[in-house]
């Protein structure tokens, strides 16, 4: 179930744009008969996306290569996969790849830490109090109508072009989805279970830990998945506006000196970073919500 929903956010394919939105549908045919299938077949049936990935990757690279050869593009318009790999290796060797990726990753991490903490705390209180929600909601919604690209320059003017301004842009980006999902999650806690906890004279802390948190978690995760993807977008936007390090800075630099392979390497790293975040959250979700994966059994 969870695996299928990931198709909503498949991430850009590694070729950075020539082959967008190819669905991961090309997979070796899943075995119909489980008993005959054997171990490999079982594995494919369980992880169709993973099994299909090598094929999708090869097909994309071949198409890309063919396109460049056919149209005979110069390298600064569209480099071949080989050029990009070469560039990536040389950047890895001189340490610049790690330095820029790390800078972006730190911005993403710090922004998530602050933004998610604020979203959880405020979301919990808005979920608990309708009055507070009515008072604050209009401002929160209004704040979201301002494009982040528009306030990023302000943040850079106020907080400089260092780490802080990027962290703040990221914070602003990740805040809202998690806030909304936390409010909805807390508000929809089963009233029968609230009454049960009351009849058992549970304290505030127990109510939160044993009921509200686990009950709201499935909804919160939906917002969390959006937030981690947006965190990467936030960091890149911040770097575009003003930075001297980071993957967004690399793209800006590459545009200036027409080093297109470098742009491709940066985009590739951004995709990898976002994918890693998204799948970490998904794995955590599958682990924490493993009770949801069980179907109905016959009984009684």
């Amino acid at each position: 179930m969870m695996k299928d929903s990931s198709i909503l956010f498949p991430g850009a394919p590694a070729d950075g744009g020539t082959d967008q939105g190819k669905p991961p549908a090309i997979e070796p045919t899943a075995p119909q008969d489980q008993r005959k299938a054997g171990r490999v077949g079982d594995w494919v049936a369980r992880y169709p996306a993973l099994a299909a990935f090598p094929f999708v990757l090869c097909a994309s690279l071949l198409l890309w290569e063919a396109l460049v050869r056919w149209q005979d593009y110069p390298v600064f318009i569209l480099p071949r996969p080989g050029h990009v790999i070469q560039k990536a290796l040389s950047m890895a060797a001189d340490g610049s790849l790690l330095r820029h990726s790390r800078a972006t990753a730190i911005e993403v991490g710090a922004g998530l830490l602050i933004g998610l903490t604020l979203a959880f705390v405020l979301g919990y209180w808005l979920g608990r109090s309708r009055t507070l929600d009515r008072i604050l909601s209009p401002y929160l919604v209004a704040s979201q109508t301002i494009p982040v690209v528009a306030i990023a320059p302000l943040l850079v003017i106020w907080f400089g072009s260092g780490l802080l301004s990027k962290v703040l842009v990221t914070t602003v980006m990740v805040f809202f989805p998690t806030l909304v999902s936390t409010v909805v999650g807390i508000r929809n806690v089963d009233p029968d279970l609230r009454e049960l906890m009351r009849s058992l004279r549970a304290g505030r802390r127990q109510l939160f830990l044993k009921l509200e948190l686990p009950a709201a978690l499935p909804v919160i995760f939906a917002g969390l998945k959006l937030s981690v993807i947006l965190a990467v977008v936030g960091a890149i936007v911040g770097e575009f506006v003003g930075a001297d390090v980071g993957l967004g800075f690399l793209i800006n630099l590459g545009r200036g000196v027409l080093d297109t392979p470098m742009i491709f390497v940066a985009v590739l790293m951004i995709v990898l970073l976002a994918q890693a975040m998204y799948w970490s959250v998904t794995l955590l979700e599958n682990y924490l919500l493993r009770w949801k994966q069980l179907g109905l059994k016959d009984g009684d």
């Binding site: 089963d190 029968d192 279970l193 009454e195 049960l196 009351r198 009849s199 058992l200 004279r201 549970a202 127990q206 044993k210 009921l211 686990p214 009950a215 919500l289 009770w291 949801k292 069980l294 179907g295 109905l296 059994k297 016959d298 009984g299 009684d300």
Partner: protein
């Protein structure tokens, strides 16, 4: 022993509605002795669930007072256990973990608690489902888990609000028999809300009839069928007479309400 375990005096309750009040219960007085099984029968809307929540301290009555062991009830009591009609199990906890919840809220769990909970589930015929999640249980099994959860706290008083009301008739019959056996073995004092007259006669030592709007107590009927009870007793003329009497009592209340 002569002191009642639970006593309600002139309990009335009104629910606030937009700009008026909706009376739900009027002047209900009742008392419950130790080891007694009492059923409250009433039509829907007669304030049965309101009464149960007031008796258990989940709801403060507009007027009147409830005393448990001679002390006025203000808020939920540790010695009163509930079983509600809606199976209120936490879907993220296994049957065993759900049963352990009340103990867990009082103190850190130890091996003895787990052992006791496991034994209680076994007693209810659920040993194979201790590690099953509620979504894997049938309605009857889930309600057995809530009953186990309530009994594991060894409550002095068990309050049941149409506990098997959402189940099919056969499962319901069987669970009623099990409930009766459990209450006899443990000398459990219990008060159960139901809208089934047969069920009340089968289970109770005493049947209270709640009727009208707001609900008033229309009468108390002692059920002098011998124990242990069997389903077959419901076909006895004696049981038939009791059922007619309760039905008549309900009808009087309804007529009064209509006037």
């Amino acid at each position: 022993m002569t002191d009642p375990l639970l006593q309600a005096q002139n309990v009335s309750h009104n629910y606030p509605r937009r700009n008026r009040v909706m009376p739900a219960l009027a002047e209900v007085s009742l008392s419950l002795r130790k080891h007694e099984f009492v059923c409250v029968v009433g039509n829907s809307g007669s304030g049965k669930s309101t009464l149960l929540r007031i008796l258990g301290g989940l709801l403060t009555p507009t007027a009147g007072e409830v005393q448990f062991k001679g002390i006025p009830v203000r808020g939920p009591q540790p010695e009163i256990g509930f079983v509600f009609q809606n199976t209120n199990l936490m879907p993220w906890r296994t049957a065993l973990e759900n049963v352990l919840l009340p103990l867990e809220l009082q103190k850190p769990l130890d091996g003895y608690d787990r052992e006791r909970a496991g034994a209680a589930l076994t007693l209810m015929g659920l040993e194979a489902f201790a590690d099953a999640y509620p979504s894997q249980l049938s309605g009857g099994m889930a309600q057995r888990v809530t009953l186990t959860r309530a009994l594991l706290q060894s409550p002095a008083l068990l309050l049941l609000d149409e506990p098997f009301g959402a189940l099919d008739a056969l499962t319901r019959e069987r669970l009623n028999q099990e409930l009766l056996r459990l209450c006899r073995d443990r000398k459990q004092t219990a008060l159960m809300i139901t809208h089934s007259i047969q069920e009340a006669v089968f289970l109770a030592d005493r049947v209270l009839v709640l009727s009208g709007q707001p609900g008033r107590l229309q009468g108390a009927i002692s059920v002098d069928l011998p124990r242990p009870r069997t389903l077959e007793m419901l076909t006895w003329p004696q049981a038939g007479a009791l059922i007619s009497e309760i039905r008549a009592c309900l009808a009087t209340g309804a007529q009064e309400a209509a006037r």
